[in-house]
């Protein structure tokens, strides 16, 4: 183990190298580009024995991973924002085909208008595609989670998206412990045979037209229809609720670092007010909780590490008996509310002893969000709570007066 000072993008690339990825597909987009630049360099210098395919688009980047993963290779790519949107067809394809691809997403705002800075609208917009989605708080977690992601993906035969905030993490230098290759190898053995059979001596047609209803094979045995395959896929995502924490524990055993599995918490034990978010905002919220505690407010933090599958049981358990969960979303379902707030409300519906849930929208397109603003928003929420408000529309933090008209 060696400590290096590196950016989040470097951490992601280093993790892919530690995972001994066999095929890397790359297309540049800010703020992700340094991930694939690093990998390109290592492949060219012979440090990483992998196939590096410099494709002509993000659609092709994920497609190359799909092709390579189908024949059993460990495949990796990374993207951001419009790049992720452009490959959305393949985001669904990779998941539906049950391919254990790992993709890092350096979270960035969606155009139009152009904006290269951070929010989480991009990855939140593909939350329904059937990938495991993990959000990271700092660069160490990016490295650790990206290595873990391969083990999760290959165990479940579903792709894993490792999300981290663009610029805030992707371009910020932090000390990162890099495990020795032997440690990573012991944690992540080579990929076993894929579900897909591509063999001239045992020819199969992978991913053909699949009917609504089950259909008999040549032996007369009924085989699944489209809906059965979708149910199996859903089952694999639900199984991730066990596998993600298991893998995180195994990593902790190997390296001494665990990240909480599905969720992470800070000062939560006696907290009445729980601040909820995903990504680097969680780190910021720990400062807010400390500041509020200094004022006598019993505040704590609950970070969503695994956003898909949504950790309903873990959230219910940790939020039971609290007075308020205040969710800070860096994304929005336009005309409705922030995605995490929306999901948390649904998760807590009919749960015994559930807190009130308020939402707040912040940080869109890189809009600065300071601990002071987050604390102020929390104080305002406490005022609403004291006034008996049980539900309310999301408030927008650090928004110019009169914009919502």
């Amino acid at each position: 183990m060696t400590v290096h000072v590196m950016t989040g993008n470097d951490a992601a690339a280093t993790a892919a190298k530690l995972a001994r990825v066999q095929v890397v597909a790359a297309y540049p987009i800010t703020p992700q580009s340094p991930v694939v630049e690093n990998l390109s360099k290592w492949v060219e210098q012979g440090e990483l024995p992998a196939e590096f395919v410099a494709v002509e688009s993000e659609h092709s980047a994920l497609t190359v991973c799909i092709g390579a993963s189908t024949v059993g290779a460990r495949a990796f790519t990374a993207t951001s924002a419009n790049g992720l949107a452009y490959m959305t067809e393949q985001v669904w394809w990779a998941a539906g085909a049950r391919l254990p691809i790992v993709m890092c997403v350096a979270n960035r705002a969606m155009a139009a208008p152009w904006n290269v800075l951070n929010d989480q609208q991009d990855s939140m917009s593909v939350r329904d595609a059937g990938w495991v989605q993990l959000y990271c708080r700092d660069n160490q977690e990016i490295l650790d989670t990206t290595v873990q992601a391969f083990r999760i993906a290959e165990r479940l035969n579903v792709p894993v998206m490792v999300c981290y905030d663009g610029f805030l993490l992707s371009h910020t230098m932090m000390p990162v412990d890099v495990p020795d290759a032997e440690v990573a190898d012991a944690f992540l053995p080579p990929r076993t045979a894929p579900l897909q059979v591509v063999d001239v001596n045992n020819p199969r047609n992978v991913g053909p037209v699949t009917l609504a209803d089950p259909r008999a094979d040549a032996d007369g045995t009924l085989q699944p229809g489209y809906m059965e395959f979708r149910a199996m896929h859903h089952g694999a995502l639900l199984e991730a609720l066990e596998v993600v924490p298991d893998v995180d524990r195994a990593w902790e055993t190997a390296t001494g670092r665990g990240w909480g599995g599905l969720v992470c918490e800070y000062l939560l034990d006696d907290a009445e007010i729980v601040l909820v978010a995903a990504g680097s905002l969680v780190t910021q919220l720990t400062l807010v909780a400390e500041a509020l505690r200094a004022e006598g407010v019993r505040a704590g933090v609950l970070g969503i590490r695994c956003y898909r599958p949504f950790p309903v049981a873990a959230l219910r358990e940790r939020l039971a008996g609290r007075a308020l969960a205040l969710v800070f979303d860096k994304a929005l379902s336009y005309g409705y509310q922030g995605p995490i707030a929306e999901d948390l409300k649904a998760a807590l519906y009919a749960a015994p002893d559930a807190p009130a849930v308020y939402g707040a929208i912040c940080g869109l397109g890189g809009r600065d969000v300071s601990p002071g603003q987050l604390a102020a928003a929390t104080r305002a929420a406490l005022g609403d709570l004291a006034a008996g408000v049980t539900d309310r529309a999301p408030v927008w933090i650090n928004l110019a007066e009169g914009s919502m008209r």
Binding site: L195, N205, G207, P208, P214
Partner: protein
């Protein structure tokens, strides 16, 4: 149902007995077939052009009627006009596997 992903195995007759699609059937008249007349595997254009791999090389080539869709390319392309497309109604019945008729 033991499959985790949609992945097919090869099988003839994926679309069923496609011979049922046919309105006319190719009838080989061996006495005109170049290969049959020459007594060796020559010509075989009917085999070459069959889109459905329903024809086996031979003297004359053999046509598998269970799956022949009746496109008529073999008859059209036969240089000796040895294959005639005969309307199915002229046969009265379509044979079913096992000898049943309908």
């Amino acid at each position: 149902m033991n499959q985790k992903i949609s992945m097919s195995r090869p099988s003839v007759g994926e679309a069923g007995r496609t011979g049922d699609w046919r309105s006319s059937r190719p009838v080989m008249r061996a006495e005109l077939c170049l290969a049959a007349k020459a007594g060796k595997v020559t010509c075989q254009l009917c085999w070459l052009y069959c889109p459905d791999a329903c024809i086996t090389q031979g003297m004359p080539p053999e046509i598998e009627l269970e799956y022949c869709k009746g496109c008529g390319i073999c008859a059209e392309e036969c240089p000796a006009h040895a294959i005639e497309m005969v309307p199915e109604r002229a046969h009265g019945v379509c044979e079913m596997p096992g000898g049943a008729a309908r």
